[in-house]
């Protein structure tokens, strides 16, 4: 398969591992920002192939994990009140304060699992007597498609469609982590797919301000080891800049058409991150022009607020302060079938990656 087998090549991967080994002289902590990268590292057994001096710290880039509890409760509230709720598959098993979307479905809620929000607009057209809400979760990666669904609905005069927005942005989260006194990250592997949309211009000031190497990195084994090598190389040379390992997909200016669609529909606003708290200017909200498509306003559910589970250390996991297996509940009271927090459920969650694939559970 073009671009897959090539990037899962044993010899090429080994040669980069060797390069890392030969370059490294000091211990370094490198955070991979995206949950997809975390899974790539753990699922392919890369973490254990790296020299001991490289410590990979798992970042907050799991959209499901950082979606605040109250938004899940809001989606459940809609589902229990005869609204057709459409969601990406990842989201449906994540526990809200009392139950998950999947459990609500079992009790009779009309929940649809979709790959594309445009499908949700189609469902709205097919069910004119019902309200249809798409649970618009995700980082910059899913924002264009979600925005497009709103533009589509507006153009076609679909009035019974709205979105429950929980869009978060990667750079503010990276900054929040760098500002946290408990986290000490030496370099970042930037999230490849997020940068495919947004480009990486906005990372230059971040790298400058915190004097930290940022390497935009892909998800295949070879991408990951090459990205790690590029980060180690900068660290050992004592330099810091933004580099692009994932050049076959990511361009510095990003995808202009996608960015235009985002800016038509969304504007930047404050967002609450599950386990981390509110981060200023860290997410998207619908602009005034598209307020009619805001499910929170449409159904008057803005006031649902619920506390987090006190025993779950998801915040520390998402900021890379603790590793999943360092949690006292890991694999005991918290498992994928009975999760205390989102990182144990999501296919991009660090706890799930460790539970399913990691040698720490051998």
């Amino acid at each position: 398969m073009k671009y897959l087998s090539e990037y899962r090549n044993l010899e090429a991967t080994k040669s980069y591992l060797k390069l890392i080994e030969n370059t490294i002289t000091k211990p370094w902590k490198i955070m991979e920002v995206c949950g997809g990268q975390t899974h790539g590292l753990v699922k392919n057994g890369i973490i254990n192939l790296l020299p001991d001096k490289v410590q990979m710290i798992h970042g907050p880039g799991c959209p499901v994990c950082v979606t605040p509890l109250n938004l899940i409760d809001k989606a459940i509230e809609l589902l229990e009140n005869d609204v057709i709720v459409c969601s990406f598959g990842d989201m449906i098993r994540v526990p809200g304060s009392k139950k998950s979307l999947l459990e609500t479905k079992a009790n009779g809620g009309d929940l649809r699992i979709l790959y594309s929000p445009l499908e949700a607009v189609k469902i709205a057209k097919e069910n004119p007597d019902k309200e249809v809400v798409f649970f618009a979760v995700g980082f910059e990666t899913t924002a264009p498609a979600n925005a497009l669904s709103v533009l589509h609905a507006q153009k076609e005069g679909v009035k019974n469609y709205s979105i429950l927005v929980s869009h978060v942005l990667v750079p503010p989260a990276m900054e929040a982590i760098l500002d946290d006194k408990f986290s000490n990250i030496d370099a970042f592997l930037g999230a490849g797919h997020v940068c495919a949309i947004m480009g990486y211009k906005e990372y230059h000031p971040l790298s400058e301000k915190y004097k930290i190497p940022i390497v935009i990195t892909g998800f295949e084994p070879l991408d990951l080891v090459q990205g790690i090598y590029m980060a180690v190389h900068q660290l050992e040379k004592g330099i810091y800049k933004v580099e692009n390992q994932y050049a076959r997909v990511v361009k510095e200016e990003g995808n202009k058409a996608a960015i235009d669609v985002i800016h038509k529909v969304f504007e930047i606003g404050n967002r609450e991150w599950r386990g981390i708290g509110e981060i200023p200017n860290s997410g998207y909200k619908l602009t005034k022009e598209f307020m009619d498509f805001d499910a929170e306003l449409k159904f008057g559910i803005s006031n649902i607020h619920v506390p987090e589970n006190a025993t779950c250390i998801a915040g520390e996991i998402l900021k890379g302060i603790k590793k999943p297996h360092e949690c006292s509940e890991f694999g005991k009271t918290c498992t994928p079938s009975n999760p205390l927090g989102a990182p144990m459920v999501s296919s991009e969650g660090a706890c799930a990656a460790y539970y399913h694939f990691s040698e720490t559970t051998f």
Binding site: M1, T13, K14, I46, D90, I92
Partner: protein, 341 residues
């Protein structure tokens, strides 16, 4: 069978009443199709003769959509149970067949399913000897559910049990994995995508029989990795025998298009359902011969040895990835869910 002669074009509640309408449906479709000395008795049950040990297996089929690329629910209902009986080291002989039909099912569809049951039964050499038909109100079923129970004669040379598995035994997979699950997924509402992936549903009982003829008790286990996929079955076995299992990613038989579809949807082929694939765990010294025999059979043409039983990491399955790393292969928890990005 011409649907015009039936006098009805959909199944309704009357067809499950047990009265004349039920009899009409049975006479015109069921008895006419299956036509054998057992079912022709038109009794509530059937009497059959066996010599020696009997293997029995039952399964309910609730697949959606009921028609999919490469087959339909009728075919799966036969092959699924036939294969489960075969996995016991037995030769499947007889099947019961019970329908739960949702009112409103088009009679054409019902007939097509019944015909597929008949054709699949013929292909695997089993007879449908008894059955049942119930009709539920619209909204209380999903078009049609089928239950089949299979009876088989245990092969005289068979000694199939997890207790026989020992360290060093080889694990052989009979064909491309994840075909069935991805064929279904490609046609599910909301997830449709263009592909030519077809379900691998088929009966494997004759191949199993040939293996037992040739290798007898050196074959320690058969298992079909249907729901939950290869990962779940191997994890279950590792846990049952309290030994480790190692597999190698590069050895897994995976067709390119299926691999690509899994990649796009973010699914792991190890957890995707199979229908016409089985695994067998055999003594190391016969592994090559087993693979050779299987590869000479149409149903096992893509057979490969994917791993072995080990003393290390008891009760866990560990896979060597394509780049030489190691990872745990854990059992499937709930349904595999498509990821966000």
């Amino acid at each position: 069978m011409d649907t015009k002669d039936l006098g009805f074009d959909t199944i309704n509640l009357g067809h499950g009443s047990g009265g004349l309408m039920t009899r009409d449906l049975l006479d015109k479709i069921i008895f006419k199709t299956f036509n054998n000395p057992f079912i022709n008795q038109k009794h509530d049950g059937a009497i059959v003769k066996f010599d020696g040990e009997i293997a029995i297996s039952t399964d309910s089929f609730v697949i959606s959509p009921i028609f999919f690329k490469g087959g339909n629910i009728g075919e799966i209902a036969v092959n699924g149970t036939v294969n489960d009986v075969a996995m016991c080291g037995a030769i499947p002989k007889y099947l019961s067949l019970a329908f739960i039909v949702e009112e409103g099912l088009k009679i054409d569809e019902f007939i097509e399913i019944v015909k597929s049951v008949k054709s699949a039964a013929d292909k695997s050499g089993v007879k449908i000897i008894t059955g049942d038909t119930k009709v539920v109100e619209r909204g209380k079923g999903d078009k049609i559910f089928i239950n089949t129970t299979g009876l088989g004669q245990v092969h005289p040379k068979a000694n199939i049990s997890t207790e026989n598995i020992k360290v060093g035994d080889k694990i052989i997979v009979s064909g491309y994995i994840a075909q069935h699950g991805m064929a279904i997924m490609s046609q599910r509402e909301g997830l449709e995508f263009e592909s030519t992936i077809v379900s691998d549903t088929t009966n494997v009982n004759f191949l199993v029989n040939d293996l037992l003829d040739a290798f007898g008790d050196k074959i320690h286990l058969f298992r079909d990795p249907t729901r939950g996929g290869l990962a779940s079955v191997l994890s279950e076995i590792a846990s049952d025998i309290n030994r480790g299992i190692t597999i190698t990613e590069n050895d897994l038989p995976l067709e390119k298009q299926v691999a690509a579809a899994c990649e796009i949807l973010g699914l792991d082929p190890l957890y995707v359902a199979n229908e016409g694939v089985f695994i067998t765990i055999v003594e190391a010294d016969i592994a090559d011969a087993v693979v050779k025999l299987m590869q000479n059979d149409e149903k096992g043409i893509n057979s490969t040895c994917v791993g072995e039983v080990t003393n290390e990491h008891p009760a866990k399955v560990v896979m060597t990835s394509s780049i030489g790393g190691k990872r745990i292969v854990s059992p499937l928890i709930g349904e595999q869910l498509p990821r966000i990005c």
